[in-house]
């Protein structure tokens, strides 16, 4: 397990470094002078020169890269072009909102997806199985931004049941929860389908295993066999899916955050791209990627903990 852990950590670190390199290359591949692009067409030459010096743009590219990696390792992701505030601080202010949105979105998807996946697996080829199948594929097929727009139109604009914008009053949990309902519904809906299909497929495989048949033969209560024995094994591939889903939801969250005007990492990246605020773009993408890698790594370690065969595979 230790060897596996070290190998996976090394791989994760390599991916993070590759991401930094790609981000850096992209910055220098964008046509135009980064300082002028960031400060706008009417910026004075003095302001452009000051910015270039502050961002080390007057250094060779390889030196800029090394400076950035060294600072990032120390937790310093640079400063915002416009406000001179620390990028780390700005990301710190927003990341909680994205984590809340993604956790809630994935949370309700799991809570609903696992039972209906089980239900479909327990009653294969019945009307219920087909309905679950159609609904699952349907929810997978609808992009989250479409769900966002329609849910906003229906529940906020037409019915006025739920708020349309923002994250709620700081310190007012009820208000914050009400502001979370629609975005979480929008980002989580497709994952109900993913989770239920995965659980159904795993459950069908496990339900055919000898030990499950034996458990039935011993006269154990069917509910206990399904949820106590089969689901515990069948849920393992779903953990990997959920880990990847978390990363996927970080990118889906961009649309929800923009449409519902919620603060968060996705919206921060979007706004920074629009404003050509490169330090924010680099820092936020790096943090989002690191978060994704960490979650995938955690889910892999969890699987490896449960299943020794996985530990041997790397």
């Amino acid at each position: 397990m230790i060897i596996y852990l070290v190998k996976r950590l090394g791989l994760a670190l390599a991916v993070v470094l590759a991401v930094i390199l790609v981000l850096f290359s992209l910055l220098h591949l964008i046509p135009g002078d980064p300082a002028t692009i960031a400060l706008g067409p009417r910026a004075t030459p003095e302001a452009v020169a000051r910015y270039a010096a502050k961002m080390h743009l007057d250094e060779p590219v390889w030196m800029q890269f090394l400076i950035y990696v060294k600072n990032a390792a120390m937790g310093d992701l640079g400063v915002d072009v416009f406000s001179d505030r620390s990028v780390t601080t700005i990301i710190g202010e927003r990341i909680g909102f994205t984590l809340a949105l993604v956790s809630t979105g994935l949370g309700w998807a799991i809570l609903l997806g696992i039972p209906i996946g089980c239900l479909a697996a327990v009653k294969p080829n019945t009307a219920m199985d087909r309905i679950v199948g159609i609904l699952s594929v349907g929810t997978i097929a609808v992009p989250s931004f479409v769900v966002s727009i329609w849910s906003l139109l229906i529940f906020a604009v037409v019915l006025r049941w739920l708020p349309a914008i923002g994250a709620g009053e700081p310190g007012d949990l009820g208000d914050q929860i009400s502001h979370l309902v629609l975005p979480a519904f929008a980002v989580g809906l497709s994952w109900v389908g993913y989770v239920s299909r995965m659980v159904r497929a795993s459950m069908l495989e496990v339900m055919g295993e000898n030990y499950i048949r034996s458990a039935h033969a011993f006269g154990l209560e069917p509910r206990r066999v399904v949820y106590g024995y089969a689901l515990r094994v069948a849920v393992l591939p779903t953990i990997t899916l959920i880990g990847m889903g978390f990363g996927g939801l970080i990118s889906s969250a961009v649309f929800a955050e923009i449409i519902f005007a919620r603060p968060g990492i996705g919206k921060l990246i979007f706004d920074a791209v629009m404003a050509r605020n490169f330090p924010i773009v680099q820092g936020a993408v790096l943090v989002a990627t690191s978060l994704y890698i960490s979650i995938v790594l955690f889910s892999d370690l969890l699987i490896a903990w449960f299943d020794p065969r996985v530990r041997e595979s790397l």
């Binding site: 692009i37 739920l162 708020p163 449409i259």
Partner: protein, 516 residues
């Protein structure tokens, strides 16, 4: 284990129940903003509130609520002018280079910084000469303090638009000298001291909150509290307005067209100003466009009305020059061309040009690309093949600048839009000879234009200024390098229960909102 069953009857019963439930009254509703709270939109976070280093736009809105200004914009029917603010007892231009002011009594800075003094005005304006907004203070020599609350702004040269474009606009904000010194000479997203009807708080990424300032003894604003929510996307803001969560927001041209057909209940439209001018430019030095007859043919070939209808849903005003509606020197018609494809073909024939192929560059934005496609069709009708090249803002804004590479040599046609302040001087400055290769991408020069530009700066008589700027636009149009397109408006939708106050360039002034 009891199995779940589904039946047609059960399905119909459940869907009917869900349908009925959705129609039930009494479910939580999110009401319109209550009487004391005004809910608005900011299109981005306020990054730097310091007038010397701000990025502009929404920061100016915050400054207008929390800092003193000597002058403010005043609308007089269709035109814009200025008036002294309630921070001053007197603001008078004694002669072309001296502006006397006297501050109102009883103005107090927050955080215990005491009364607002003439020395604060001196500090605020003189520091601007070294700031990122120094361009607005080129004409300022110094501020003379003659008393605690009196002083004179001394200009180094006569500069007619100083009050309009400097004192009324964001750079004209007055800060508390001692408070700014105490925070190290610069500040970012927190005012070190305020003097105005509102105090300021910011929740980054979410909103800016303006609360009634308890130390303010000037005119009370109509709203106790203003919540300006950060909503980057205009479409999200429009939906938030329709959901009743905003009282006022800026809207895009497509939504304006929709609202003109069917306005949301209890809502109205207010146009703040139209200080943007868009045109199609032509490179007069390019071999394909060197002949003025070719340029004039292109001018005659383009149907601007169809661009306004097709790309802007008929929501923008047709342009006839660089001076925007409401300003001195606005033209009411073009002088040297009109839409006339037959004349365009004749001019091309006269020039001996056929099979002309040109590239039209534009920013990659919906309306502009649509406009470019209409131009492409117009020019195809007279035998000119146009390739439309949408560009990202980085390469677009550099393409005509000699310091940024060689693209300026290949420039043929482009769609351009500039924003301006409420004085014709600002718009005219980009087309003088010294701007060739910088912002004058059409690359023509005219000694007469340059001379008129200098005259326009120092002339204080409105009638004479009007003639100067009309003549300057005639010169520009005569080059054949311009097809004037439109002036996009700053349009706001708002509840009928409030009156909106906006500067000509579209910054909202919350403290001058009123209830109907």
């Amino acid at each position: 284990m009891k199995s779940l069953t589904t039946s047609r009857r059960a399905f119909l019963a459940s869907t009917a129940a869900i349908g009925a439930y959705s129609l039930l009254p009494g479910l939580p509703k999110f009401a319109y903003a209550d009487g004391n709270v005004l809910k608005l939109r900011l299109d981005s976070d306020n990054e730097i509130l310091d007038p010397g280093y701000m990025t502009g736009a929404t920061e100016i809105e915050a400054q207008k609520q929390c800092l003193p200004f000597l002058a403010e914009y005043a609308r007089n029917g269709e035109t814009f002018g200025w008036q002294p603010t309630y921070f001053v007892k007197k603001l008078e231009q004694r002669d072309p280079t001296h502006i006397d002011f006297e501050l109102e009594e009883g103005l107090v800075w927050s955080n215990g910084y005491g009364p607002v003094k003439a020395s604060d005005v001196k500090f605020s304006y003189e520091r601007m000469k070294e700031s990122d907004w120094s361009g607005y203070f080129t004409a300022l020599d110094h501020v003379e303090v003659t008393g605690d609350r009196t002083g004179t702004i001394v200009l180094n040269t006569a500069f007619a638009p100083f009050i309009m474009i400097t004192l009324c606009h964001g750079p004209g904000a007055i800060v508390c000298a001692q408070a700014v010194k105490d925070v190290g000479g610069k500040f970012t997203n927190k005012f070190p001291a305020v003097c105005g009807p509102y105090t300021y708080e910011q929740t980054p990424g979410q909103r800016a909150t303006f609360k009634a300032n308890p130390e303010w003894n000037g005119p009370k604003p109509a709203f106790e509290r203003v919540e300006a929510n950060v909503i980057t996307e205009v479409k999200a803001a429009e939906l938030a307005f329709e959901a009743g969560e905003l009282d006022c927001t800026k809207i895009g041209s497509d939504t304006l067209a929709r609202y003109q057909k069917e306005m949301p209940a209890g809502s109205e439209i207010t146009v703040g100003g139209e200080l943007q001018y868009m045109w199609m430019g032509m490179n007069t030095e390019h071999p394909k466009l060197k002949d003025q007859k070719v340029r004039r043919a292109i001018q005659h070939a383009i149907d601007v009305d169809s661009i306004l209808a097709g790309a802007y849903s008929g929501t923008t005003r047709k342009s006839h020059g660089i001076v925007c509606p409401g300003l001195i020197g606005q033209r009411d018609a073009t002088k040297y061309y009109s839409y006339d494809p037959a004349k365009a073909r004749a001019l091309l024939e006269e020039a001996g040009v056929s099979g002309l192929q040109l590239t039209l560059r534009t920013l990659n934005q919906q309306e502009r690309v649509l406009a470019a496609q209409i131009i492409q069709a117009n020019l195809a009708a007279i035998g000119i093949t146009v390739k439309v090249m949408p560009l990202d803002s980085g390469p677009f804004w550099e393409m005509g600048q000699e310091s940024k590479g060689d693209t300026w040599q290949d420039l043929e046609l482009w769609l351009m839009r500039f924003g301006t302040t409420p004085d014709p001087y600002e718009a005219s400055q980009w087309f003088v000879s010294s701007q060739v290769g910088i912002w004058n991408w059409e690359r023509w020069t005219s000694e007469e234009y340059d001379a008129l530009y200098q005259q326009g700066i120092v002339e204080t008589d409105d009638a004479k200024r009007r003639e100067i700027y009309l003549k300057m636009q005639d010169i520009m149009e005569e080059t054949g390098a311009y097809v004037w397109i439109n002036h996009e408006p700053e349009t706001f939708v708002h509840r009928s229960s409030i009156n909106v106050n906006s500067s000509p360039s579209g910054e909202l002034n919350y403290r001058r909102f009123t209830r109907t």
